[in-house]
Symmetry: C2
Subunit: 336 residues, 2 copies
């Protein structure tokens, strides 16, 4: 009835993303054995009660404020448990604070859930918090990832809206590199009703409409600011889409099928090294594998720029002594 | 891939229940052809964007602030679109205000969606708003219902917690009559791990625990105040469980299978007449049918009391001239 009966720990389960994720795990028939963790006991109980009142058959849902209880025996760990940015905090404060949370999560995973098969980090800046979790967890690189799909689904949405076609008639949308405003929105293999975006930009019409370079730049910008737009419209940051796509990533880990880019660790030696960022990924028996995405020179330039941004954030966290120097990463995690 | 491709109109789709419901309709594979309606344009756009960013394959989701567009061609209409109680409003203000919304919804259904096959009303007081919608819609009584499951799933939750058993090891939980603090929590066929509640109250142990009359009274009270407890814990009224159970009701309408009591119209002539309230219901080709639930004298007494409360609320709405006098109902809806 459910895709897996292995234990799923949902961290930050009192929050909007976490509580929605528990519902989505059950509603999609993905997992029934769920432990909801949050340090905020009152809200956690309320979120758990809501899930109970849904009455999902076969559900085995517990909740706890004890991280050891949450993680022990967990095969899958999905964490939206970062702190939101508060008044008076700088971006750097948020970066450092959330990376400290990610560090502790990594250490907790090492202690309580060393056999975890997949961890997805959702709290921002996800590229850096995901990387931090990976390093301290000691897990294999293919077992720790970050949610990176939303930029791509936002691109799909914008193109579908522009051309007035169904959303899934827009295919091959990919955004790579860092999640956030520095992301690289690839033309890649994007097609609308089967017509490649390159051809569209060269003048091909779809559904009676054409798209010029200026339109494309507008769409790319709308994708980059898609998250901020949700805050403006709803008065809160997105929670339904991060929740659902994280559940889809878990399904991908189990079934091997997942449609969107994921955050992938890049180790020493390549053009892009010692970061986690959205890449051309696929799920296999050993978790997530992938490579630098292919793209036009323009796409590659955007990716290089996005990588530089992610590397800079990483270096700030190393300078803040939350992450160790790169040379010591393998001491913390021999799997790297 | 989806249980139905008929049009589902979700009314109040910018709200917490409505936006969650759209996600749940898609996540459970229930419906893909959804129109999101809300008069609050900005929040509606934000909610729709979130759904788009989920990237559900096959989804055909639109949104509108035009009720005619939302309802035209809709086979199913799910409405959480009432007004919440605001500071300074009395319970009567809320009752009258939401019944006026329900009246307009009924009239809009009559005008734009006379072929609707199922309408579920979720906004409070649901027994009365559901009744009001039915009368003005002109639809068959079996085609309009109210969400009534949560009281029962709350009973299931409380008993599972008390005995320390899995939630679905508690079976046959039913609460009937009015939704809210006057509900009748039936012992009915409730059993825990197969042991009937009557036997438990006579001393039978389950999972090493016994439950006495005082414990049972405490549990009944906790069920009656289960909704208020959510508000206390989460700082907002429940939205995940009403959303999910409404989707389950729609599945019930389509497949014939649904596990919980639903709001049912009782016409002239019976012991319980001219109300909508939770009853012993089942789905058939002609929608919802049902009867007065069987129960112990004590259960029946509680139901009679709950009915009297619902009838009183109905009479207040008639007095406020939002509902016509009972004698005129058949003029408004010949199907009654």
């Amino acid at each position: 009835m459910y895709l897996t009966d292995k234990k799923v720990a949902v961290m930050g389960a009192a929050g909007a993303i976490g509580s929605n994720m528990v519902q989505d795990l059950l509603a999609t028939g993905t997992a029934n054995n769920i432990c909801m963790y949050d340090p905020f006991a009152v809200g956690l109980e309320g979120a758990a009660e809501e899930i109970y009142h849904c009455g999902f058959p076969g559900a085995r849902v517990t909740y706890t404020t004890d991280v050891a209880e949450a993680l022990t025996g967990a095969s899958y760990i999905l964490s939206s448990g970062g702190a939101p940015r508060k008044d008076g905090m700088t971006r750097e404060d948020l970066l450092k604070g959330n990376c400290e949370i990610a560090k502790q999560l990594g250490l907790d995973i090492k202690q309580y859930a060393p056999d975890a098969e997949f961890v997805v980090i959702i709290f921002n800046p996800a590229d850096i918090t995901g990387l931090t979790t990976l390093i301290y967890s000691g897990l294999k690189p293919g077992y720790v990832s970050t949610l990176a799909a939303l930029d791509s689904t936002r691109l799909q949405t914008r193109l579908a809206t522009f051309f007035g076609v169904a959303q899934d008639e827009v295919t091959g949308c990919t955004t790579y590199g860092g999640h956030g405003e520095s992301m690289a929105v690839f033309k890649g293999n994007t097609a609308v009703q089967g017509v490649k975006l390159d051809d569209i930009l060269a003048g091909a019409a779809v559904n009676g409409k054409t798209l010029n370079a200026e339109d494309w730049a507008t769409i790319q910008e709308a994708v980059r600011t898609g998250g901020a737009k949700i805050i403006k419209l709803r008065g809160r940051s997105s929670y339904q889409s991060p929740s659902h796509q994280t559940v889809e990533m878990l399904r991908g880990r189990i079934t091997g099928e997942y449609a969107w880019p994921c955050g992938l660790y890049f180790g020493d030696g390549g053009k892009y090294a010692n970061v986690m960022m959205a890449a051309d990924t696929k799920f296999g028996p050993d978790g997530l594998t992938g490579s630098i995405p292919a793209g036009s020179p323009e796409d590659q330039e955007a990716l290089a720029k996005s990588y530089a941004h992610v590397a800079k954030l990483r270096d700030e966290v190393i300078d803040a002594k939350v992450l160790p120097p790169i040379s010591e990463w393998k001491t913390y995690n021999p799997n790297l």
